[in-house]
Symmetry: C2
Subunit: 410 residues, 2 copies
């Protein structure tokens, strides 16, 4: 059951001028499932992306990087399939990813390098590229600017709900739209970006600013979530700017216009990233882990991830059992060699659980229990060794996580 | 259900001259459970130990380190309680651990510094030292050299079976005995040693050799296992040499006598460490992860642990589902920045699953399935970038792991 997450209302997702989306059922792994999405971009759109740091990165990730290196300013289409990750597939996988780009390019009258391919699903299985080819005409015929909600459905795997978010901001006297979709439910500990995330805006922006913007947005959103600590082979997060909004071009991310756009992109990205955690495999709770008082942000994040990855901490949250010493244990093994346990504070929402490394004298188990029973919880650790802070979002570990991942392929 | 593990046969556990063990029910957390163990050592025994690297190390771990620093050659007693870890307890926890040493020292007419205290159980709860004191007379009265199997029971927490191992070797014309016990079932990713392990020998050995021997034994055994990746606050592994066997003292670990003892200690340690994995919380499979072809042992172990910690890999083993791309994904995110996926081989026992980073053309799913259904499985990855190798032992992730850890305190 997703945690405080509902399916997006299509009426709340602003179309982005210059972007149309088409969805089809191609039978890639299972019949009668939307598993193919084509996103067409008008000429003039610029695209930037960040991708997994997994060394076993999928064939489509490798192709995306190549195409973006030479054609970031002239990408015209995005092709997404679910049901097959086309990862761990060697040279044959690369050839099949290229063939899918060629097929779509031929239909659209563009170059294959103007297509960005994305795959998600089972690893180390052969991509049925013939089924993708056969599904393309239906997806292309289906294209519409108002298909964001259906496209969010078309990229789902073990997700139980589609994920989309949208913001409209005023820039240079014009309405600018930022709309995006994401998917992901397991193998989620993005390290650059998430499983799949696509955000588009009609803002007019110097293309050179897109890459720093997508990197910053990923760092503030997808790179702060974890479900199971498994960094996927296919993580990809793409930002599209179509330049159709009609305002004067944004030349700096720190100008008032740049900041307004940045905020909208961050908000959409964070909502999409948190939606992935809320719909994490088997999730029953949404947990923010905030670590304060570190010497730098890296060590705060390191401690936050140790807590967020601990199976013992995650099962305690599932059980609403305030067995909170497990959190201290995770802080202790997070890898900070000179950490002084005698300085550590631990809070659960407003409840002060541990002080100076030991149980707070006023802490009562029923107060911990009260917070543990909530569906949204903030764990806050203060290291008291510096000014830095970092927050990571995660979920609990339940029986359903095991069931889902023991059954995923069946 | 433990994997190919049975309770030790007391008749197979050789007594170690100079060591007696007593067990009592002290009601530390629950009534009617053996939860207190006292091990007495004759004068002349030498002791060495390795302890957790967790920065939130428990009060007894801190006290053990202090006592060993000054009294390694004159330790006369070991005191173990279960039901309470005395970790995350601050200054009060240290005072209580000291008080328990004082109480036992008073009964034995020795100094408190000649006692090594060990605790295991729930973190961040106050140690009921009065109950330990009250239980001591019964434990002392109960002491016997043939109590190893009962002592193994007395240190259990969520373990389903006691764990003990024994070897007898000939050194210098004499029979030398090596006998040990261990416990641990969750919060198991030792980093120096395991939850609790005690090995004793009557070998006569230069006390200066004990510390390198216990470190080497830990590195070859307890430091190679993981159940859930959670490094405990209380990991302790202790080696005792009573010097009662009557042969000429061992002056070097590389002499024939030193090597014979080393082999016996390694075998006992490895059997105890593997027993912990076989009895891992919810374990249904015992999995050896062997990584060959690394540039050095560290990177091999890093890749092996990434596989052994992946919840997705572990749930696939639970389901006997050869969803083996998940193993490649774990190899890819293990953190080797210049890893070339195009070189990687993957084997499941004798089955060649992946070659040059992609599915082996001859690999058939039914072959993978056949191996996955076994209760003992070897995963072998060849990185093809160097001569090093390392093996880690782990278990699968089942529904029972979640149940056990959601219910642990209730």
């Amino acid at each position: 059951m997703p945690v405080n997450l509902t399916a997006p209302d299509p009426a709340q997702l602003a179309p982005v001028a210059g972007v149309t989306l088409g969805i089809a059922e191609a039978g890639i792994r299972k019949a009668n499932r939307k598993d193919l999405v084509v996103v067409s971009l008008d000429e003039g759109a610029a695209v930037a992306g960040v991708f997994t740091t997994n060394r076993f990165c999928a064939a489509p990730v490798q192709i995306c990087r190549q195409h973006l290196a030479t054609h970031a300013g002239s990408v015209r289409a995005i092709l997404v399939n679910t049901g097959n990750a086309n990862a761990g597939t060697g040279a044959d996988g690369l050839a099949r990813a290229r063939r899918s780009c060629e097929a779509l390019a031929a239909q659209l009258g563009i170059q294959p390098e103007q297509v960005l391919p994305f795959s998600t699903g089972v690893i180390m299985e052969t991509l049925p590229v013939d089924r993708i080819e056969a599904g393309l005409p239906a997806a292309l015929a289906n294209r519409s600017p108002s298909n964001w909600a259906r496209a969010a459905e078309g990229i789902m795997t073990t997700d139980t709900l589609p994920k989309a978010a949208s913001r409209t901001v005023a820039i240079g006297g014009r309405e600018v739209h930022v709309t995006g979709i994401s998917k992901g439910a397991g193998m989620i500990k993005p390290n650059m970006a998430t499983m799949l995330g696509f955000v588009a805006t009609d803002a007019v922006i110097d293309p050179a600013l897109l890459q720093p913007l997508v990197k910053a947005a990923a760092d503030a959103s997808f790179n702060r979530i974890t479900i199971d600590g498994d960094t996927s082979t296919n993580d990809s997060f793409v930002l599209i700017a179509t330049g159709k909004a009609g305002h004067a071009p944004i030349q700096s991310l720190t100008s008032p216009e740049g900041l307004a756009l940045q905020q909208a992109v961050f908000e959409v990205s964070r909502q999409l990233a948190q939606a992935i955690v809320r719909d994490g495999e088997g999730a029953t709770k949404f947990i923010a882990v905030q670590v304060d008082g570190g010497r730098n942000e890296d060590e705060c994040r390191q401690v936050a991830y140790a807590i967020a990855h601990s199976p013992l901490v995650k099962t305690a949250f599932f059980a609403s059992d305030p067995n909170l010493g497990r959190i201290l244990a995770a802080v202790g093994y997070a890898g900070i060699a000179d950490l002084d346990q005698g300085l550590i504070d631990l809070f659960l929402d407003d409840v002060h659980v541990a002080r100076e490394g030991g149980r707070h004298p006023a802490y009562r188990e029923e107060d911990g229990q009260r917070v543990m029973k909530q569906s949204e919880i903030t764990v806050r650790v203060d290291l008291h060794r510096g000014p830095a802070t970092s927050t990571v979002w995660t979920c609990d570990l339940s029986h359903d996580y095991v069931s889902i991942n023991a059954d995923y392929r069946s």
